[in-house]
Subunit: 318 residues, 6 copies
Amino acid sequence: MSLVTFGETMLRFAPESGERIETATELEFRTAGAESNVAIAASNLGVDAVWTSKLPDSPLGRRVTREVRSHGVEPSVVWSEDGRQGAYYVEDGGEPRGTNVIYDRTDAAVRTTTPEEVFGAIDLAAGDACYVSGITPALSAQLEATTSALFERAQEAGATTVFDLNYRSKLWSPAEARESCEPLLEHVDIFVCAARDARTVLDREGSDESICADLAARYAPDVVVLTQGADGAVAIDGDGSIHDQPAFPAETTDPIGTGDAFVGGFLAASLESADVAGALEYGAATAALKRTLDGDLAVVTPAEVSRVIDETTDGIAR
Amino acid sequence: MSLVTFGETMLRFAPESGERIETATELEFRTAGAESNVAIAASNLGVDAVWTSKLPDSPLGRRVTREVRSHGVEPSVVWSEDGRQGAYYVEDGGEPRGTNVIYDRTDAAVRTTTPEEVFGAIDLAAGDACYVSGITPALSAQLEATTSALFERAQEAGATTVFDLNYRSKLWSPAEARESCEPLLEHVDIFVCAARDARTVLDREGSDESICADLAARYAPDVVVLTQGADGAVAIDGDGSIHDQPAFPAETTDPIGTGDAFVGGFLAASLESADVAGALEYGAATAALKRTLDGDLAVVTPAEVSRVIDETTDGIAR
Amino acid sequence: MSLVTFGETMLRFAPESGERIETATELEFRTAGAESNVAIAASNLGVDAVWTSKLPDSPLGRRVTREVRSHGVEPSVVWSEDGRQGAYYVEDGGEPRGTNVIYDRTDAAVRTTTPEEVFGAIDLAAGDACYVSGITPALSAQLEATTSALFERAQEAGATTVFDLNYRSKLWSPAEARESCEPLLEHVDIFVCAARDARTVLDREGSDESICADLAARYAPDVVVLTQGADGAVAIDGDGSIHDQPAFPAETTDPIGTGDAFVGGFLAASLESADVAGALEYGAATAALKRTLDGDLAVVTPAEVSRVIDETTDGIAR
Amino acid sequence: MSLVTFGETMLRFAPESGERIETATELEFRTAGAESNVAIAASNLGVDAVWTSKLPDSPLGRRVTREVRSHGVEPSVVWSEDGRQGAYYVEDGGEPRGTNVIYDRTDAAVRTTTPEEVFGAIDLAAGDACYVSGITPALSAQLEATTSALFERAQEAGATTVFDLNYRSKLWSPAEARESCEPLLEHVDIFVCAARDARTVLDREGSDESICADLAARYAPDVVVLTQGADGAVAIDGDGSIHDQPAFPAETTDPIGTGDAFVGGFLAASLESADVAGALEYGAATAALKRTLDGDLAVVTPAEVSRVIDETTDGIAR
Amino acid sequence: MSLVTFGETMLRFAPESGERIETATELEFRTAGAESNVAIAASNLGVDAVWTSKLPDSPLGRRVTREVRSHGVEPSVVWSEDGRQGAYYVEDGGEPRGTNVIYDRTDAAVRTTTPEEVFGAIDLAAGDACYVSGITPALSAQLEATTSALFERAQEAGATTVFDLNYRSKLWSPAEARESCEPLLEHVDIFVCAARDARTVLDREGSDESICADLAARYAPDVVVLTQGADGAVAIDGDGSIHDQPAFPAETTDPIGTGDAFVGGFLAASLESADVAGALEYGAATAALKRTLDGDLAVVTPAEVSRVIDETTDGIAR
Amino acid sequence: MSLVTFGETMLRFAPESGERIETATELEFRTAGAESNVAIAASNLGVDAVWTSKLPDSPLGRRVTREVRSHGVEPSVVWSEDGRQGAYYVEDGGEPRGTNVIYDRTDAAVRTTTPEEVFGAIDLAAGDACYVSGITPALSAQLEATTSALFERAQEAGATTVFDLNYRSKLWSPAEARESCEPLLEHVDIFVCAARDARTVLDREGSDESICADLAARYAPDVVVLTQGADGAVAIDGDGSIHDQPAFPAETTDPIGTGDAFVGGFLAASLESADVAGALEYGAATAALKRTLDGDLAVVTPAEVSRVIDETTDGIAR
């Protein structure tokens, strides 16, 4: 039982904390992308994970696969002569400056990925999970079609399909996102959605719990997980039971990637047959640990996640 | 309508956070000085700004002008064969250690700047603003005379004179500061003063509001702005109206330069014909953003300042 | 009157804050060890201090002595052809990740140090203080014997013996620690113990004050100091008077070494003939300053400690 | 008399020497582009210089203008909502690895710059010099047209037009370059061309001197400068006199930008009315100094260039 | 057809060039070991490679596997509760200082690896290559036995066994090395040996060519490769033909790992069915590229190696 | 038998290699001064060494003493409330840029040091060596007098006085240097002088050997050592024998401090009773090692110096 994810992974440039891109003379150089972030979190937590994408055949593309692979995720990449290596710049500022992200995704090689290229790169089997975020269909019409085809194929193979709507206002409008994502939801088994996005993109109203039930009724996935940022998450399982999971307190060094860490932890627990409540808790603990780390990636161990859940951390371990 | 400032700009050395000068093996290398700080903040906010000073004709002096110029401020510098390039060392520590500043300003070239040198370097026109801080007259008797001459000339030209008392206990005593600054105040249109300094140096008592009115009555500038550190600022305008401006909440990465950022923002708004209340708000927002940045300088955009005022920042923008 | 300490000093490797050892490509390189930490804190506060140990005759061993010496402590080292240079790795994470320490002390040269080697390296005179932590006897049976011999010799010479139990669960069990330390306590004049360790290792119960009195009664040192982490310390002096010392508030950059800074400050004051209450206060202020610094070491001046005690710090000093 | 240049300036990313992009975790962050490089070299040597381009209105675009301006060059930029900020990655390896450049210029904002936008951004007067490299027309058909219009306008205004063919095999083929550049040469007063490019792109044969004469005869500029890499340069002036200038010996830290430094120095001398022989020598000395510096930019002073020419450098100056 | 290697991989600490370990405050943090170096070079050149070892189950052990995996090598590791993570420190100095290596391999977990543990971790098939260096049997008697068992098993499986004597004077004496390695040579198909080691350890005399033939006659492997440092290599193949391969000229940034890069390149070519002469050339080109890189690892591509062989590198590629 | 030195030690700021002070954003932070450099070289080579000076009582002054002490030299410092901490900036460029030094020594605290202050800080005994460079009397008239008094006192105590003329054109003219140094030479036992300075300052002519003899005749010290930069040194001993010592070949990372390393090595050997020829060789080997290190300081061991002399270095030691 393994996890397969598909989407764009970017170079990630960041100045030191307290410094601005406009005046920086050195940048941290990492890689990031929702789908590789989720695969990496899950892999670090013990899951066999494969991430697939299309990358330019260059040192920049190889920079991406090296970092993905270092976390134990198998990068099954279509190498391309055309298209750019996408990038993003992030400046992490305390309030009131906030965190600012600048995307540089124009003409990324991944945008032309066809279903055939994806099917050539990965195998899906019963019991696997197949994850794509809403960022992928936002990138091109081709990727919208490829995501749809992938989810259909995954369900045919008996895999669980997982979709995190993950709305990005710098990529598309709420109306565009809704139009593109709703058809995908017909093929989704686990639907993850930020409560904010459910309201903005999917026009839901009411309490988070009622939105959760509403989404379950409307789109009929097996599970709906509504993430609430600093407040945790609420989910409805196949029995219609609602589960509330508060966030674990965390000192935040870098907030980016927290949502992906949550999903990666949730899926790692799910694939090891945790129930929805257990998976929520595991995801929340993974997300709390991620908050203490620079970069998008949840470099955490199962033992650390368990310790957060068991609340046994006590200052300095020596 | 442009801003002209005159004063010393120093090299600024700082160890990394958590490190001490005594044990450091590498130092951050920046430039700073009240008058260039104010010009830079205003320039980054859209104002034509000129900063003038006297610097040694050496790589150290050129290091200063390069950084000043990179922010769009025109450095109109008198190059000197004599005198040092001033410097300061700063160690920024959490409580109870606090922030410690070590000045190394002995024999700085700027100390001998004559009125003629300043007049040769700058033009002043009606509608311009001319800013000097109380640090400048503290540096030498010559600079006290030059500041006075500059303010007189500016008023003759129809420019608005701006003086921030900016008391530095490592440069002179309260009595010396008072004796030197009070004559200058005869030529000041906008008088900025820390509430603390009003009490220590100018012997004022009572509430900040009453001190504000008191200073306006005593020295007869058009506007008095009393800065209150973390509490914001209070000002009295030409009509005798009192305006209170609370500070915007901010996570402080580096507190140094906050007051200069406030003045820079205040003047940027004033030069774009904001009223005193609007200028205070603009200054306070600029100051809050500066607090999130390392170094003395307010590397901020008008859009960011407006967003702080409109309170629309909401976590990560992506 | 000088301070003599004996124990292992390690290389200390740490990734940048927010980074993990597993993924780091650069590590901060410092040195640390309870006994050199205490000597360094005391030396920085004006005490003549000597630290003795056995180190491999290599650049790694010399790296240690160079850093110790830079703080004014005389490293009186037995150079060895055998045995390793011990090391430790520390990852400092915000909650819920916490701080993690990985020891790499196997086969350290210090483990074979004999009483003769120690006696050859140091002189002890009446009025001196001789400090060893409970880490030293935990490292080997030889070091248990050597610590015992050193304390006996020190008392014979008229020096004050100081022992900080400093329990490390990664080195031994509570039962082992108790069995080894109790005989040592017969030769201890000042006994420092974390309240937590008094309960875990020495099986004490009740309030901290009662445990303090209990330890004084049971082991008969002149002074017992019970440290309470973020809550401060409580001590009982020779007259049986109990002294409570709250911790000074501090923004913590790096918590490791705080206890050693406390002991170093306490001993510095004691050797300058402060009474127990004064020494506690001096130690607590030293510890609060240490918390603002990266690394194990209290790089602080007597003036800074006094300023903390006098509560006169007031933001930026300039 | 000032220098006006027009072209793309990119972000420049480089790993440390000895490190590869594929494995780097930090990159140096600079800016570079033939036309800003030339303007910066000239400005550092005392010339009034303006560089114009079209940039995205973002921190990335502002990063470029800040660095350009820090060298005293006025960036007269058309800010755009569309198009990317171009970038390049460079890995500088000793032999046999060599230096590798990866362009990331897709869809750069500059590509759509119209003649009207350029004419709105700059003024040209008699006696000025107007420089564009062959990289600019290589970037888009629009830029080919805009370059042509700019050169025509410059000649009408009495300015000297300067064109450096600067062939880039990663941007276009020799045939494409020839087809595009030959019509431009009708409007060129000073034609700079690498000897290698003269052979590859312009199909010239024979000795460098004969090629130089050949180009002068064929395209009829006032001056032809044929650069010979490590061997120096040869030029023919308006009188048909040939001038040979050997390269000054230099220890090369970073070879990129050497050609632009040469042109910047050549133009700085020309604008100060040096003859061709003197300008060649000044350019060669500037280029030699550039070789000792990291990054594309010639951060040099007139005094340093003169000292190279006078061969008076003698080890350590102290 | 894949490559399997077995041996110790260490943490690798290095100060910056020009700095000493004794005075460094920061160290580069990499991983290195002859057997993982060879696997990584081969993997970067397109070979399926597996490296096996025993590591402590800690962040330090995981640090090693992450870096190995990032190069595409599968780390098939036995995780251990006992034993250290080995390390080495390297200081790279120009002449006359030279490069100094300090091993810190005491009690490394790998030392207890049994044949059963190795056989449990890897599969060997006909056509594979199995590489171990002479460092492995030098580390413990157990590893001597395990190496022998592994080579026997590999030959039984139809794999090609490869042994590089790689004498390390800090690990054992020439006599010890000879006594241990000679029995191993009975099971070796490709024997790599430094010419210097052939003389020192194996007591050979005469020209390199004659030593090569002598070793082939004495130990009867299929191929003997005698490496000659900066002079290249000489080999004798199964037909008794001697092949001389000069080294490619290279500017050396870091010499360590050059020999392993040579073997990795040689084996990559051999596994792709190059003959001995072609494999020597491919190994020599890989080694030359490695010399330009910091760290032990050959981060190179097949295209780069081919370009070195084809001598088409020509300065800056752009 | 110990070495006592007296003179100014500065902070030393340097950008990274390839970077300029004008554009740097970070500087290496070290300490340096001829007299502490010599003491440190000697101390690292086993000599008891004391360095005395006057420093401002500040973190900057303490930064100096910490680094001096870390090399085992006892800093016996007069702490001052007046005067600056001197500094220098160095930019190390390949040819033709060369190395540039910018002094910032104005008003350094050391300039007012009286003989009484020096005598209060140090003890001198028969057999000791007492070293001052010609930089010290160049700094002030007071220091000229103090140097003279120190040399007289040293000779009275039976110590050997050592003077290195060390002419600095940025501090004084040749005529001034001659006028000041010649009277000092009456009290000098070992006179070290660069051949270049002997010509420029002391107006000597002829071959280095004849100048050496000439100086010995004129000023009557026991030993004259004439240093020849890259060519080595020539000396005349008390018997009038001339000794030539070529320089050991070295790859130079940083040339500054090489002369001081030579003197430190020469004195270390002399104090261990080497004859002049042996001391020259030891000094030359120390200087060659220094050339491979960044910074002014000879961080070398006696074993390394001996290895250079024995020419046994052979690439990588492992």
